[in-house]
Symmetry: C2
Subunit: 297 residues, 2 copies
């Protein structure tokens, strides 16, 4: 797949995801309107839609009669809820996200708290509603998403991140725990959810999907750490250099930019090598993984 | 069923629910321990366990091979998350809940936010995991619980409650919306989830369960409004008289205590009359509904 072909396909899928978000979220005029406005405000604030597009890439590799878009919107709701709550004053206290006021700045703290709660809840409601006639798929998708988002993974990573910043006692082992759980777990579930939508799949395909997701997810976070040092606010849509200013332990502070780049490249190569085991028809997924390694924001 | 028989059965079920909560929540020593401590702290802080026991009562009326206790714990996780987030400084800013420090007082605001998020997420994870081999049940339970907890119901009721207190423009219509959604929706899902666990049920049973739940749920909130006026802090385990002090519109402020009692009695009678349509074997459910009308805290 040429770079141009990839870009075209990526953009097509991204637009379909945007369209699905608009179509599948509760309408802005649903009562009470303010919560539905807040949910849509944060969901429509942009972002690369990496998780839904990864889910589509995995889904496309298997015969499937199920519509993947509700699952795409569900995982994006989950991701967006986690950002809204992370930005709250009692957490990171961030005013800007993707160059726009964060949810609690645009609305207020109570509404941001509830909009996050509502998006988290809606992720599961949407899966249960949209796949009601295919309960095995519905239940499998809920299982993967809730597991990734739970207190041992996404929330657990966030907890250790908060505690590590507070007590300053960060270790490479803790950093690894945080990256694996706060970032890689949800990215992993994007790949496994794509597989779960297939008409039929063997359990070993889920295992391969998990391994691919883990490598991509960790690479994604290492690259985030690098970009915080090497990029600028205009490109990133958020303040950069915060990790260094906060003396935060990152892959870059531990291993330096060059070695971090090598680590990200190794993880990316591992993930790409595994794609063949998922399906021979893995051109777009491989190109997507490379794109994620080379992203600039 | 005599009052003594009811009390014995109620207490037996309550103890089983307590045991299931202890057994099914992630262990306190799971990493990161602090979040699992906070989740357990709020889940083990007491409470009447009305929702799980209502779920058991509905479940007992139908032949069912499915274990109802994971569903009981899931609905209690959902209820507890909503209390933790309602108590936060940006919401009701409450220091006490059931006579004990609220989660953010015992831990801190960040941990209470995350413990609430984690319990909400775990409710769905538990349903998906525990009923993995019965995906139709798993998906149906997720559907009912997420629908009740979402932005149009539980969270929607909370939003209108917050806004009503802020702008002081409460109307009887808004009060009705709040009570139906903030309180009655989750109580309704307790009854429907009990039915969903049956080996087999006709769709009209779910409708009956919804009608019963709606009447019980509304009665429950009317009685809460009455108790805020007629009970005391020691009995309730929380500050009473707050509604009047805050000039909050309630059933009592609208209709007075006596008329509110009549309304609660009418709703209770409606619910009890419907029980027969669910199953002739409805003795415990009817007794439970009466108990809920006559509760003192």
């Amino acid at each position: 797949m040429t770079s141009q072909e990839f870009k075209k396909e990526f953009e097509e899928r991204r637009l379909k995801v945007e369209e699905a978000i608009d179509r599948l979220l509760p309408p802005e005029d649903a009562r009470p309107t303010i919560i539905h406005k807040a949910m849509r405000y944060s969901m429509e604030a942009g972002g690369k839609r990496i998780r839904p597009i990864l889910l589509l890439a995995a889904h496309d590799m298997f015969p499937s009669e199920a519509d993947p878009f509700p699952a795409c919107v569900a995982i994006e709701c989950l991701h967006t809820y986690s950002l809204i709550h992370d930005d709250l004053p009692c957490m990171d206290n961030s005013d800007l996200r993707r160059g726009k006021p964060t949810c609690h700045k645009q609305f207020d703290e109570a509404m941001a708290l509830l909009a996050g709660d509502a998006l988290l809840t809606y992720a599961f409601q949407l899966l249960a509603e949209a796949y009601e006639s295919r309960p095995k798929i519905a239940a499998g998708l809920v299982l993967d998403l809730a597991d990734a988002a739970g207190s041992r993974k996404l929330i657990g990573g966030q907890v250790e991140d908060v505690l590590g910043e507070r007590d300053g006692k960060m270790t490479p082992e803790k950093l690894n725990f945080i990256h694996h759980n706060k970032t890689a777990a949800l990215i992993t579930s994007a790949v496994t959810m794509g597989v779960r939508l297939a008409d039929d799949y063997s359990p070993d395909k889920l295992d391969v999907a998990r391994q691919i997701g883990k490598n991509i997810g960790l690479a994604f976070q290492v690259i985030d750490d690098i970009l915080d040092v090497t990029s600028d606010a205009a490109t990133m849509g958020k303040t950069t250099g915060l990790d260094a200013a906060n003396q935060k332990m990152t892959y870059v502070s531990l291993y330096g930019v060059e070695r971090s780049r090598e680590i990200a490249a190794e993880l990316t190569q591992k993930a790409i090598a595994l794609c063949q085991n998922l399906s021979p028809d893995c051109g777009f997924l491989k190109a997507l993984i490379s794109y994620m390694q080379n992203r600039i924001n």
